[in-house]
């Protein structure tokens, strides 16, 4: 699967000093936030080189999050599909049940060093909200989580978890009442409370330095996969697959492999009812570049530049934009982006549960569904790594309802 797009070193080259990944990314916010974002970028770059900070982060990842997460060979499922050896990067086994905590642990340490006493976050499925509330509880910081009113209805268990952890969950009633509106509201909070408040963005979107910072905190996933592949399989994987909403678990897996042209990279967007129906959340597959939430990236928008409503079975992928680095990886040809529909994701959810005894998140199930198409096209001597980004406990209500069962 040699990729001719990889002709130069990509790692460490992007973004530029003002946050650009080629034509994407950047800093599109109102003036009030420009100086605070520059401060954040400076602090981040400083602590990224600070051995004490890195040691504390590493210690937290090991003893609080539970890293490294295993790379598990899904034997039965691989045999069933009849192709590549499938390996699952078990981010679902992290504390709080998803990859999100890798980033919140990092940003919370940064918040404390910057002297901030209050944490705010946006959340879609609730995983990032839970991961933010968790680190805030541990560090004794006040925490407010903004969540779309529609998402609060479909993820009630996570809402309760956040409240147990001491966070205040604010229902966002504006716009489409989902993740994008939660992000708007968190940004409004931040602009009003920027002196004492640290905004933990949960994905690789938002204004610079968030896309780069979140990527760097999540890249522990790909770095571990590299080491584990070399140790367990004796070589690098042939292909990587991850689901993409904002794209943080995907970039975390992909980034350390960008300079390996023989590793094929696939990002899987939420096709909803089908990309052709318009009811989906797949900006890379069916959108066009625009500016939202502080960065330039592929967006779902109408022909007059208004952001379009999205649809996905999974709240965590129900977002009209995507991290700017993904937009750039798409245009450069280094990564391939595809979409799978709600039905296909749901099937993969059931399959993995029954065949491997692992209940995956509905977000993750999109990556699994694409793997069921990709694996049979690969040889038995080839390896396919899927980022099992989160566990599905939070989704059993949704799945039961779709199956016509009331719990």
């Amino acid at each position: 699967m040699h990729n001719p797009a990889v002709t130069e070193h990509l790692i460490g080259q992007f973004p530029d000093a003002r946050g650009h990944f080629g034509p994407y990314g950047g800093l599109f916010v109102s003036e009030t936030l420009m100086e605070p974002l520059e401060e954040l970028a400076a602090a981040y770059h400083h602590y990224l080189e600070d051995p004490e900070f890195l040691a504390e982060l590493d210690d937290d990842l090991r003893h609080y999050v539970g890293r490294p997460s295993p790379l598990y060979h899904a034997r039965r499922w691989s045999e069933r599909l009849g192709g590549a050896r499938i390996l699952l990067k078990r981010e679902d086994l992290n504390h709080t049940g998803a990859h999100k905590v890798n980033n919140t642990v990092g940003q919370a340490l940064l918040a404390r060093r910057m002297g901030k006493t209050r944490i705010i976050a946006e959340t879609g499925a609730g995983q990032h909200g839970v991961a933010s509330a968790t680190v805030a509880a541990r560090l004794g910081l006040e925490c407010v989580v903004y969540m779309g009113a529609e998402d609060i209805e479909r993820q009630s268990a996570n809402v309760y978890r956040m409240r147990l952890l001491g966070a205040r969950v604010v229902a966002v009633e504006s716009g489409s009442r989902t993740l994008k509106d939660a992000l708007n509201e968190a940004m409004r909070d931040w602009v009003a409370n920027v002196d004492d408040t640290f905004y933990i963005i949960g994905t690789v979107a938002g204004p610079h330095p968030y896309p780069a910072m979140v990527r760097d905190f999540q890249s522990v996933i790909g770095r571990e996969v590299r080491e584990q592949m070399l140790a367990q399989e004796g070589g690098l994987p042939d292909a990587l697959v991850a689901c993409v909403g904002g794209g943080s678990n995907a970039i975390g897996l992909f980034y350390p492999f960008l300079d390996d042209p023989d590793v094929a990279i696939f990002g899987v967007e939420a096709g909803g009812s089908g990309v052709e129906t318009g009811r989906h959340a797949a900006p890379l597959c069916a959108g066009r570049p625009g500016v939202l939430h502080g960065n330039r990236t592929y967006l779902m928008e109408d022909d007059r530049g208004q952001i379009a409503a999205t649809h996905s079975i999974s709240a965590g992928l129900d977002y009209p934009g995507v991290g700017p680095e993904h937009s750039w990886l798409k245009d450069s040809g280094r990564a391939t982006y595809v979409a799978v529909n709600d039905d296909e994701a749901l099937q993969a959810f059931h399959d993995l549960t029954r065949i491997e005894g692992i209940i995956p998140a509905l977000e993750t199930s999109h990556a699994l569904a694409y793997a069921t198409k990709l694996a049979p096209t690969m040889g038995r001597d080839q390896t396919l790594v899927i980022n099992l980004s989160g566990r599905g406990d939070k989704d059993i209500q949704t799945v039961a309802r779709l199956d016509g069962i009331t719990l």
């Binding site: 003002r18 950047g26 800093l27 599109f28 916010v29 109102s30 003036e31 009030t32 936030l33 420009m34 100086e35 605070p36 504006s174 716009g175 994008k180 509106d181 708007n184 940004m187 409004r188 602009v191 009003a192 409370n193 920027v194 002196d195 625009g290 500016v291 939202l292 939430h293 502080g294 967006l299 928008e301 022909d303 007059r304 530049g305 208004q306 952001i307």
Partner: protein
């Protein structure tokens, strides 16, 4: 001389009253009449909000105005028609469009600027475009003699102020507080300090907005700034009478009149 510069130079000792409404709110038929009505009540410059689905820098009042306008399908094309109609009876009052980048870019910066100028607009304030990202948009605006208006915030450093002053024309818009539009925590002393600082970097007039909601606060800001910008309070009048548009418009115009009187009284006291 641009219409904005001409307006400021014609003011004499008076301070400019800049009134903001969202185009198409509460319904498209109201906007042009309200623009004329506000001018008659004492507004010097009209800011027309371009509705956007994700108004990140706006408080709840302007968010809801944006949603009402979008529900009526109001976008840039309709707004250009409104400005064109306004210009038939008013050749002097500057009109500034205020909005977010994505709808402008979706039209194409060049096409947008050409159409805005042809319709009779005078300036454009794009909330989510700082000077660092403004090259394409500002180039297009300038080539059509439109003034790019930029924000300065309480957090803006002297270094950034210099960069903003280098890009801005028309006037500089100082955001009087850390927060979204319609917040209420105006601190006139700190506004006065910051306006003095801004004047070290530019000779452009300095307008102050965010958090000014009545004649008293407008009067206090008029003592320290060249222009006073009021938005959410005017839209609040329209919103309070959604079932009775005529009454909402009358209330909005009455508010503009009282802002005008408050500002003029403050300035004449200061001069006397």
């Amino acid at each position: 001389m641009s219409r904005i510069a001409a307006k400021f130079s014609a003011l004499g000792p008076r301070k400019a009253l800049v009134t903001f409404i969202t185009a198409g709110d509460p319904e498209p038929g109201v906007t042009v009449g309200l623009m004329h009505g506000m001018v008659k009540a004492g507004a010097d410059i009209i800011e027309l909000g371009v509705p956007f689905s994700d108004p990140m820098a706006d408080g709840p009042v302007i968010q809801r105005a944006s949603e009402r306008a979008l529900a009526h399908g109001v976008g840039l094309v309709e707004i250009f028609a409104m400005v064109q109609e306004f210009r038939r009876r008013d050749a002097d009052t500057p009109v500034v469009l205020m909005g977010y980048l994505n709808p402008m870019e979706a039209m194409g910066c060049e096409v947008f600027a050409a159409a805005a100028a042809a319709a009779g607009c005078d300036g454009v304030l794009t909330v989510d475009v700082p000077p660092e990202e403004s090259a394409e948009l500002v180039g297009a605006l300038r080539s059509h003699a439109l003034d790019p208006i930029f924000l300065v915030a309480p957090t803006t450093s002297p270094r950034r102020m210099g960069a903003i002053a280098g890009q801005a024309s028309g006037f500089v818009y100082y955001v009087s507080l850390k927060g979204v539009t319609g917040s209420a925590a105006l601190d006139v002393d700190s506004v006065a300090r910051k306006v003095t600082e801004i004047r070290e970097h530019t000779t452009l007039p300095v307008g102050v907005g965010f958090g000014i909601r009545d004649a008293a606060s407008a009067a206090r800001v008029a003592e320290v700034a060249d222009a006073v910008v009021v938005g959410s309070a005017i839209i609040g009048c329209l919103e309070a009478s959604l079932g009775d548009t005529a009454r909402g418009v009358a209330d909005a115009e009455a508010l503009v009149r009282s802002l005008r009187e408050g500002m003029d009284a403050a300035v004449s006291v200061a001069a006397g």
